[in-house]
Assembly symmetry: C2
Homo-oligomer: 194 residues x 2
DNA sequence: CTTTTTTAGTTAGCCACCTAACTATCTGCT
DNA sequence: AGCAGATAGTTAGGTGGCTAACTAAAAAAG
Protein backbone atom coordinates (compact mmCIF):
# COMPACT_ATOMS: atom_id res chain seq x y z
CA UNK A 1 0.00 0.00 0.00
CA UNK A 2 2.21 2.75 -1.17
CA UNK A 3 -0.01 5.72 -1.55
CA UNK A 4 -1.86 6.84 1.47
CA UNK A 5 -4.68 8.59 -0.22
CA UNK A 6 -8.23 9.30 0.71
CA UNK A 7 -10.06 6.05 0.92
CA UNK A 8 -13.38 7.63 0.08
CA UNK A 9 -13.09 9.73 -3.02
CA UNK A 10 -14.83 13.08 -2.76
CA UNK A 11 -18.11 13.48 -4.52
CA UNK A 12 -18.19 15.51 -7.66
CA UNK A 13 -20.28 18.26 -6.07
CA UNK A 14 -17.52 18.78 -3.54
CA UNK A 15 -15.04 19.31 -6.32
CA UNK A 16 -17.35 21.85 -7.89
CA UNK A 17 -17.64 23.50 -4.51
CA UNK A 18 -13.87 23.56 -4.19
CA UNK A 19 -13.51 25.07 -7.63
CA UNK A 20 -15.34 28.13 -6.40
CA UNK A 21 -12.69 28.68 -3.76
CA UNK A 22 -9.74 27.65 -5.91
CA UNK A 23 -10.07 28.69 -9.53
CA UNK A 24 -7.12 26.42 -10.32
CA UNK A 25 -9.19 23.36 -9.44
CA UNK A 26 -10.38 21.63 -12.58
CA UNK A 27 -13.06 19.26 -11.29
CA UNK A 28 -12.92 16.66 -14.02
CA UNK A 29 -9.12 16.63 -13.97
CA UNK A 30 -9.13 16.26 -10.22
CA UNK A 31 -11.66 13.49 -10.39
CA UNK A 32 -9.64 11.61 -12.98
CA UNK A 33 -6.47 12.12 -10.97
CA UNK A 34 -7.99 10.78 -7.77
CA UNK A 35 -9.56 7.80 -9.46
CA UNK A 36 -6.33 6.94 -11.18
CA UNK A 37 -4.32 6.95 -7.97
CA UNK A 38 -7.02 5.15 -6.08
CA UNK A 39 -7.43 2.40 -8.66
CA UNK A 40 -3.70 2.05 -9.11
CA UNK A 41 -3.20 1.73 -5.39
CA UNK A 42 -5.94 -0.82 -4.98
CA UNK A 43 -4.79 -2.94 -7.89
CA UNK A 44 -1.26 -2.75 -6.63
CA UNK A 45 -2.20 -3.90 -3.18
CA UNK A 46 -4.25 -6.80 -4.53
CA UNK A 47 -1.25 -8.23 -6.32
CA UNK A 48 0.99 -7.35 -3.42
CA UNK A 49 -1.18 -9.39 -1.10
CA UNK A 50 -0.93 -12.36 -3.42
CA UNK A 51 2.85 -12.06 -3.55
CA UNK A 52 3.00 -11.68 0.20
CA UNK A 53 1.41 -15.12 0.55
CA UNK A 54 4.53 -16.45 -1.07
CA UNK A 55 6.59 -14.31 1.29
CA UNK A 56 7.96 -11.96 -1.30
CA UNK A 57 7.53 -8.25 -1.81
CA UNK A 58 6.71 -6.42 -5.03
CA UNK A 59 10.19 -4.96 -5.13
CA UNK A 60 11.96 -8.27 -4.81
CA UNK A 61 9.53 -9.85 -7.24
CA UNK A 62 10.33 -7.21 -9.83
CA UNK A 63 14.02 -7.98 -9.49
CA UNK A 64 13.38 -11.68 -9.91
CA UNK A 65 11.26 -11.01 -12.98
CA UNK A 66 13.94 -8.89 -14.58
CA UNK A 67 16.56 -11.54 -13.99
CA UNK A 68 14.26 -14.33 -15.00
CA UNK A 69 13.53 -12.52 -18.22
CA UNK A 70 17.24 -12.49 -18.92
CA UNK A 71 17.76 -16.17 -18.24
CA UNK A 72 14.77 -17.08 -20.38
CA UNK A 73 16.34 -15.15 -23.17
CA UNK A 74 19.69 -16.88 -22.83
CA UNK A 75 18.43 -20.41 -22.45
CA UNK A 76 16.12 -20.20 -25.43
CA UNK A 77 18.61 -18.30 -27.56
CA UNK A 78 19.62 -21.22 -29.69
CA UNK A 79 18.25 -19.36 -32.66
CA UNK A 80 18.48 -15.63 -33.19
CA UNK A 81 15.05 -14.87 -31.82
CA UNK A 82 13.35 -13.13 -28.89
CA UNK A 83 13.93 -9.46 -29.67
CA UNK A 84 11.68 -8.46 -26.80
CA UNK A 85 14.47 -6.69 -24.97
CA UNK A 86 17.95 -5.77 -26.00
CA UNK A 87 20.01 -7.73 -23.49
CA UNK A 88 18.41 -8.24 -20.11
CA UNK A 89 19.87 -6.59 -17.06
CA UNK A 90 22.49 -8.38 -15.02
CA UNK A 91 24.38 -5.86 -12.93
CA UNK A 92 22.90 -4.01 -9.97
CA UNK A 93 23.11 -0.77 -11.91
CA UNK A 94 21.20 -2.19 -14.87
CA UNK A 95 18.62 -3.71 -12.57
CA UNK A 96 18.15 -0.44 -10.70
CA UNK A 97 17.71 1.35 -13.97
CA UNK A 98 15.23 -1.15 -15.33
CA UNK A 99 13.22 -1.19 -12.14
CA UNK A 100 13.29 2.57 -11.71
CA UNK A 101 14.92 2.68 -8.30
CA UNK A 102 18.26 3.96 -7.06
CA UNK A 103 21.32 1.79 -6.88
CA UNK A 104 21.26 2.02 -3.14
CA UNK A 105 17.78 0.56 -3.09
CA UNK A 106 18.86 -2.20 -5.43
CA UNK A 107 21.74 -3.06 -3.14
CA UNK A 108 19.25 -3.59 -0.34
CA UNK A 109 16.93 -5.70 -2.47
CA UNK A 110 19.75 -7.90 -3.71
CA UNK A 111 20.95 -8.23 -0.12
CA UNK A 112 17.67 -9.69 1.05
CA UNK A 113 17.26 -11.83 -2.06
CA UNK A 114 20.74 -13.22 -1.56
CA UNK A 115 20.06 -13.84 2.10
CA UNK A 116 16.98 -15.84 1.08
CA UNK A 117 19.02 -17.83 -1.40
CA UNK A 118 17.24 -16.56 -4.49
CA UNK A 119 20.11 -14.79 -6.19
CA UNK A 120 23.91 -14.90 -6.12
CA UNK A 121 26.37 -12.07 -6.67
CA UNK A 122 29.32 -12.98 -8.83
CA UNK A 123 32.25 -10.69 -9.53
CA UNK A 124 32.81 -9.64 -13.11
CA UNK A 125 36.12 -11.06 -14.32
CA UNK A 126 36.84 -8.12 -16.63
CA UNK A 127 35.81 -5.14 -14.52
CA UNK A 128 36.43 -5.60 -10.85
CA UNK A 129 34.00 -2.83 -9.96
CA UNK A 130 31.09 -4.76 -11.37
CA UNK A 131 28.99 -7.60 -10.06
CA UNK A 132 26.79 -9.97 -11.97
CA UNK A 133 23.56 -11.02 -10.30
CA UNK A 134 22.25 -14.49 -11.09
CA UNK A 135 19.12 -16.35 -10.20
CA UNK A 136 19.57 -19.56 -8.28
CA UNK A 137 17.67 -22.68 -9.43
CA UNK A 138 15.51 -22.24 -6.36
CA UNK A 139 14.46 -18.82 -7.62
CA UNK A 140 13.60 -20.15 -11.06
CA UNK A 141 11.28 -22.73 -9.57
CA UNK A 142 9.89 -20.10 -7.27
CA UNK A 143 9.05 -17.69 -10.08
CA UNK A 144 7.61 -20.38 -12.31
CA UNK A 145 5.35 -21.47 -9.45
CA UNK A 146 4.31 -17.92 -8.70
CA UNK A 147 3.46 -16.60 -12.12
CA UNK A 148 0.27 -18.50 -12.92
CA UNK A 149 -1.52 -17.10 -9.87
CA UNK A 150 -0.08 -13.70 -10.61
CA UNK A 151 -1.45 -13.73 -14.13
CA UNK A 152 -4.79 -15.01 -12.93
CA UNK A 153 -5.08 -12.03 -10.60
CA UNK A 154 -4.48 -9.63 -13.47
CA UNK A 155 -7.07 -11.37 -15.57
CA UNK A 156 -9.62 -11.17 -12.77
CA UNK A 157 -8.92 -7.55 -12.10
CA UNK A 158 -9.55 -6.68 -15.72
CA UNK A 159 -12.39 -9.13 -16.16
CA UNK A 160 -15.16 -6.48 -16.16
CA UNK A 161 -13.58 -4.70 -19.13
CA UNK A 162 -14.14 -5.79 -22.69
CA UNK A 163 -11.25 -6.00 -25.12
CA UNK A 164 -12.27 -2.66 -26.58
CA UNK A 165 -12.44 -1.05 -23.17
CA UNK A 166 -9.00 -2.36 -22.32
CA UNK A 167 -7.59 -0.82 -25.45
CA UNK A 168 -9.33 2.45 -24.66
CA UNK A 169 -7.97 2.41 -21.13
CA UNK A 170 -4.45 1.75 -22.34
CA UNK A 171 -4.61 4.59 -24.81
CA UNK A 172 -5.96 7.04 -22.24
CA UNK A 173 -3.31 6.01 -19.74
CA UNK A 174 -0.65 6.37 -22.38
CA UNK A 175 -1.70 9.97 -22.96
CA UNK A 176 -1.51 10.69 -19.26
CA UNK A 177 1.85 9.00 -19.02
CA UNK A 178 3.16 11.22 -21.79
CA UNK A 179 1.97 14.39 -20.16
CA UNK A 180 3.48 13.23 -16.87
CA UNK A 181 6.77 12.65 -18.60
CA UNK A 182 6.63 16.11 -20.09
CA UNK A 183 6.02 17.60 -16.68
CA UNK A 184 8.92 15.58 -15.34
CA UNK A 185 11.37 16.66 -17.96
CA UNK A 186 10.32 20.30 -17.60
CA UNK A 187 11.35 21.09 -14.05
CA UNK A 188 10.59 24.85 -14.10
CA UNK A 189 7.17 26.49 -14.00
CA UNK A 190 5.96 24.55 -11.00
CA UNK A 191 4.39 26.92 -8.58
CA UNK A 192 4.28 29.73 -11.10
CA UNK A 193 1.52 29.45 -13.62
CA UNK A 194 2.17 28.61 -17.25
CA UNK B 1 7.86 6.53 -6.01
CA UNK B 2 6.10 3.68 -4.40
CA UNK B 3 6.00 0.97 -6.94
CA UNK B 4 9.21 -0.29 -8.28
CA UNK B 5 7.95 -1.59 -11.53
CA UNK B 6 9.42 -2.11 -14.93
CA UNK B 7 10.26 1.26 -16.36
CA UNK B 8 9.90 0.09 -19.93
CA UNK B 9 6.65 -1.70 -20.42
CA UNK B 10 6.91 -4.91 -22.42
CA UNK B 11 5.73 -4.84 -25.95
CA UNK B 12 2.52 -6.54 -26.78
CA UNK B 13 4.23 -9.25 -28.83
CA UNK B 14 6.16 -10.24 -25.75
CA UNK B 15 2.95 -10.71 -23.86
CA UNK B 16 1.61 -12.88 -26.66
CA UNK B 17 4.84 -14.84 -26.51
CA UNK B 18 4.45 -15.22 -22.76
CA UNK B 19 0.89 -16.41 -23.16
CA UNK B 20 2.18 -19.42 -25.07
CA UNK B 21 4.22 -20.46 -22.05
CA UNK B 22 1.66 -19.46 -19.43
CA UNK B 23 -1.91 -20.12 -20.48
CA UNK B 24 -3.05 -18.01 -17.51
CA UNK B 25 -1.55 -14.91 -19.07
CA UNK B 26 -4.26 -12.77 -20.63
CA UNK B 27 -2.29 -10.35 -22.80
CA UNK B 28 -4.78 -7.50 -22.88
CA UNK B 29 -5.43 -7.78 -19.14
CA UNK B 30 -1.73 -7.78 -18.45
CA UNK B 31 -1.20 -4.80 -20.70
CA UNK B 32 -3.94 -2.85 -18.97
CA UNK B 33 -2.60 -3.82 -15.57
CA UNK B 34 0.93 -2.70 -16.36
CA UNK B 35 -0.19 0.55 -17.91
CA UNK B 36 -2.39 1.32 -14.95
CA UNK B 37 0.38 0.82 -12.42
CA UNK B 38 2.88 2.63 -14.58
CA UNK B 39 0.67 5.65 -15.15
CA UNK B 40 -0.44 5.75 -11.53
CA UNK B 41 3.13 5.64 -10.36
CA UNK B 42 4.25 8.36 -12.72
CA UNK B 43 1.38 10.66 -11.89
CA UNK B 44 1.94 10.04 -8.23
CA UNK B 45 5.59 10.92 -8.43
CA UNK B 46 4.89 14.10 -10.38
CA UNK B 47 2.70 15.44 -7.60
CA UNK B 48 5.06 14.07 -4.99
CA UNK B 49 7.88 16.05 -6.49
CA UNK B 50 5.81 19.21 -6.34
CA UNK B 51 4.97 18.61 -2.71
CA UNK B 52 8.60 17.83 -1.94
CA UNK B 53 9.51 21.34 -3.07
CA UNK B 54 7.45 22.55 -0.17
CA UNK B 55 9.22 20.00 2.03
CA UNK B 56 6.22 17.83 2.68
CA UNK B 57 5.49 14.24 1.77
CA UNK B 58 2.33 12.83 0.22
CA UNK B 59 1.46 11.08 3.44
CA UNK B 60 1.73 14.17 5.59
CA UNK B 61 -0.06 16.20 2.96
CA UNK B 62 -2.97 13.78 3.02
CA UNK B 63 -3.25 14.17 6.76
CA UNK B 64 -3.23 17.94 6.45
CA UNK B 65 -5.91 17.79 3.78
CA UNK B 66 -8.14 15.61 5.91
CA UNK B 67 -7.83 17.96 8.85
CA UNK B 68 -8.16 21.03 6.69
CA UNK B 69 -11.35 19.62 5.23
CA UNK B 70 -12.72 19.34 8.73
CA UNK B 71 -11.83 22.88 9.75
CA UNK B 72 -13.30 24.26 6.55
CA UNK B 73 -16.50 22.49 7.41
CA UNK B 74 -16.63 23.91 10.92
CA UNK B 75 -15.74 27.47 10.09
CA UNK B 76 -18.29 27.73 7.30
CA UNK B 77 -20.94 25.85 9.23
CA UNK B 78 -22.98 28.87 10.14
CA UNK B 79 -25.77 27.49 8.05
CA UNK B 80 -26.71 23.86 7.72
CA UNK B 81 -24.78 23.27 4.53
CA UNK B 82 -21.74 21.37 3.22
CA UNK B 83 -22.92 17.79 3.36
CA UNK B 84 -19.78 16.68 1.54
CA UNK B 85 -18.62 14.51 4.39
CA UNK B 86 -20.36 13.41 7.52
CA UNK B 87 -18.09 14.88 10.17
CA UNK B 88 -14.45 15.17 9.27
CA UNK B 89 -11.86 13.07 11.02
CA UNK B 90 -10.19 14.40 14.15
CA UNK B 91 -8.69 11.54 16.11
CA UNK B 92 -5.68 9.52 14.98
CA UNK B 93 -7.91 6.49 14.53
CA UNK B 94 -10.33 8.37 12.28
CA UNK B 95 -7.47 9.86 10.32
CA UNK B 96 -5.85 6.47 9.85
CA UNK B 97 -9.12 5.07 8.66
CA UNK B 98 -9.78 7.91 6.24
CA UNK B 99 -6.27 7.79 4.84
CA UNK B 100 -6.19 4.02 4.58
CA UNK B 101 -3.15 3.40 6.77
CA UNK B 102 -2.68 1.73 10.11
CA UNK B 103 -2.85 3.60 13.35
CA UNK B 104 0.79 2.97 13.94
CA UNK B 105 1.60 4.72 10.69
CA UNK B 106 -0.66 7.60 11.62
CA UNK B 107 1.14 7.97 14.92
CA UNK B 108 4.38 8.41 13.01
CA UNK B 109 2.90 10.93 10.59
CA UNK B 110 1.39 13.00 13.38
CA UNK B 111 4.70 12.85 15.20
CA UNK B 112 6.57 14.45 12.35
CA UNK B 113 3.78 16.95 11.64
CA UNK B 114 3.77 17.95 15.27
CA UNK B 115 7.54 18.24 15.30
CA UNK B 116 7.26 20.61 12.30
CA UNK B 117 4.63 22.67 14.09
CA UNK B 118 1.80 21.89 11.67
CA UNK B 119 -0.54 20.04 14.03
CA UNK B 120 -1.15 19.82 17.76
CA UNK B 121 -2.38 16.87 19.79
CA UNK B 122 -4.96 17.73 22.40
CA UNK B 123 -6.36 15.28 24.91
CA UNK B 124 -10.07 14.58 24.72
CA UNK B 125 -11.72 15.83 27.90
CA UNK B 126 -14.40 13.13 27.89
CA UNK B 127 -12.44 10.04 26.97
CA UNK B 128 -8.93 10.05 28.25
CA UNK B 129 -7.82 7.41 25.77
CA UNK B 130 -8.49 9.71 22.86
CA UNK B 131 -6.58 12.55 21.31
CA UNK B 132 -7.84 15.31 19.08
CA UNK B 133 -5.52 16.43 16.31
CA UNK B 134 -5.76 20.07 15.23
CA UNK B 135 -4.17 22.10 12.50
CA UNK B 136 -2.08 25.05 13.60
CA UNK B 137 -2.61 28.42 11.88
CA UNK B 138 0.77 27.86 10.24
CA UNK B 139 -0.58 24.69 8.66
CA UNK B 140 -3.68 26.44 7.35
CA UNK B 141 -1.57 29.04 5.60
CA UNK B 142 0.71 26.33 4.36
CA UNK B 143 -2.10 24.30 2.80
CA UNK B 144 -3.77 27.32 1.28
CA UNK B 145 -0.48 28.31 -0.32
CA UNK B 146 0.15 24.81 -1.58
CA UNK B 147 -3.16 23.92 -3.14
CA UNK B 148 -3.20 26.16 -6.21
CA UNK B 149 0.00 24.62 -7.57
CA UNK B 150 -1.26 21.20 -6.65
CA UNK B 151 -4.46 21.69 -8.60
CA UNK B 152 -2.56 23.13 -11.52
CA UNK B 153 -0.47 19.98 -11.71
CA UNK B 154 -3.58 17.82 -11.87
CA UNK B 155 -5.01 19.98 -14.60
CA UNK B 156 -1.83 19.72 -16.63
CA UNK B 157 -1.60 15.99 -16.20
CA UNK B 158 -5.09 15.55 -17.53
CA UNK B 159 -4.80 18.27 -20.15
CA UNK B 160 -4.51 15.86 -23.12
CA UNK B 161 -7.85 14.26 -22.27
CA UNK B 162 -11.17 15.73 -23.35
CA UNK B 163 -14.05 15.93 -20.91
CA UNK B 164 -15.57 12.85 -22.51
CA UNK B 165 -12.33 10.95 -22.23
CA UNK B 166 -12.03 11.86 -18.59
CA UNK B 167 -15.49 10.52 -17.90
CA UNK B 168 -14.65 7.36 -19.80
CA UNK B 169 -11.45 6.94 -17.84
CA UNK B 170 -13.23 7.42 -14.54
CA UNK B 171 -15.86 4.86 -15.41
CA UNK B 172 -13.28 2.29 -16.53
CA UNK B 173 -11.24 2.84 -13.40
CA UNK B 174 -14.34 2.52 -11.28
CA UNK B 175 -15.02 -0.88 -12.79
CA UNK B 176 -11.50 -2.00 -12.02
CA UNK B 177 -11.73 -0.63 -8.51
CA UNK B 178 -14.86 -2.65 -7.93
CA UNK B 179 -13.35 -5.87 -9.14
CA UNK B 180 -10.29 -5.17 -6.97
CA UNK B 181 -12.54 -4.70 -3.97
CA UNK B 182 -14.26 -7.96 -4.71
CA UNK B 183 -10.93 -9.73 -4.88
CA UNK B 184 -9.97 -8.11 -1.59
CA UNK B 185 -13.09 -9.08 0.26
CA UNK B 186 -12.86 -12.64 -1.06
CA UNK B 187 -9.69 -13.89 0.58
CA UNK B 188 -9.98 -17.54 -0.55
CA UNK B 189 -9.44 -18.83 -4.07
CA UNK B 190 -6.12 -17.12 -4.47
CA UNK B 191 -3.66 -19.57 -5.90
CA UNK B 192 -6.38 -22.04 -6.74
CA UNK B 193 -8.36 -21.27 -9.84
CA UNK B 194 -11.98 -20.20 -9.72
C1' DC C 1 -18.09 -3.87 42.49
C1' DT C 2 -14.71 -6.61 40.52
C1' DT C 3 -13.11 -8.89 36.33
C1' DT C 4 -12.83 -9.39 31.55
C1' DT C 5 -12.97 -7.63 27.04
C1' DT C 6 -12.64 -3.97 23.88
C1' DT C 7 -10.70 0.23 22.25
C1' DA C 8 -7.16 4.30 21.50
C1' DG C 9 -2.80 5.19 21.05
C1' DT C 10 2.08 4.20 21.26
C1' DT C 11 6.34 1.52 20.89
C1' DA C 12 9.54 -1.72 18.73
C1' DG C 13 11.30 -3.80 14.92
C1' DC C 14 11.17 -5.10 9.85
C1' DC C 15 11.20 -3.64 4.91
C1' DA C 16 11.82 -0.68 0.99
C1' DC C 17 12.31 3.67 -0.67
C1' DC C 18 15.31 8.00 -0.76
C1' DT C 19 19.84 11.19 -0.73
C1' DA C 20 24.50 11.89 0.30
C1' DA C 21 28.90 10.37 1.16
C1' DC C 22 32.29 6.92 0.67
C1' DT C 23 35.62 3.06 -1.53
C1' DA C 24 37.43 0.90 -5.25
C1' DT C 25 38.27 0.65 -9.91
C1' DC C 26 38.62 2.11 -14.50
C1' DT C 27 39.32 5.78 -18.21
C1' DG C 28 41.22 9.55 -20.25
C1' DC C 29 44.25 13.56 -20.45
C1' DT C 30 48.67 15.49 -20.46
C1' DA D 1 53.51 7.32 -16.04
C1' DG D 2 50.49 9.76 -13.22
C1' DC D 3 46.75 12.10 -11.77
C1' DA D 4 41.65 13.95 -12.50
C1' DG D 5 37.40 12.53 -13.28
C1' DA D 6 33.86 9.08 -14.19
C1' DT D 7 31.64 4.85 -12.77
C1' DA D 8 30.02 0.53 -9.82
C1' DG D 9 28.70 -0.61 -5.68
C1' DT D 10 28.09 0.00 -0.79
C1' DT D 11 27.20 2.34 3.57
C1' DA D 12 24.84 5.62 6.66
C1' DG D 13 20.94 7.92 8.02
C1' DG D 14 16.12 9.51 7.26
C1' DT D 15 11.08 8.59 6.08
C1' DG D 16 6.89 6.12 5.74
C1' DG D 17 4.71 1.87 5.22
C1' DC D 18 3.67 -2.69 7.92
C1' DT D 19 2.70 -6.20 12.03
C1' DA D 20 2.80 -7.41 16.71
C1' DA D 21 3.09 -6.40 21.34
C1' DC D 22 2.23 -3.18 24.86
C1' DT D 23 -0.28 0.56 28.19
C1' DA D 24 -4.07 2.95 29.64
C1' DA D 25 -8.75 3.73 29.78
C1' DA D 26 -13.55 2.63 28.98
C1' DA D 27 -17.28 -0.70 28.51
C1' DA D 28 -19.35 -5.05 29.34
C1' DA D 29 -20.05 -9.20 32.07
C1' DG D 30 -20.44 -11.57 36.29
Amino acid sequence: MPLLLLKDLPRYECLLEGAKVFPELDPSACEAYLHLLRAGDEVFSVTERNLAEHTISQGRFSVLMLLWNSTQRRTSAGEAVEPCRPAGPRTPAELADAAGVTRATMTGLIDTLERDGLVRREPDPDDRRMMSVRLTPKAEDFVAALLPAHFRIMARLMAPLSETERKTLVSLLTKILQSANELTSTPPALSASS
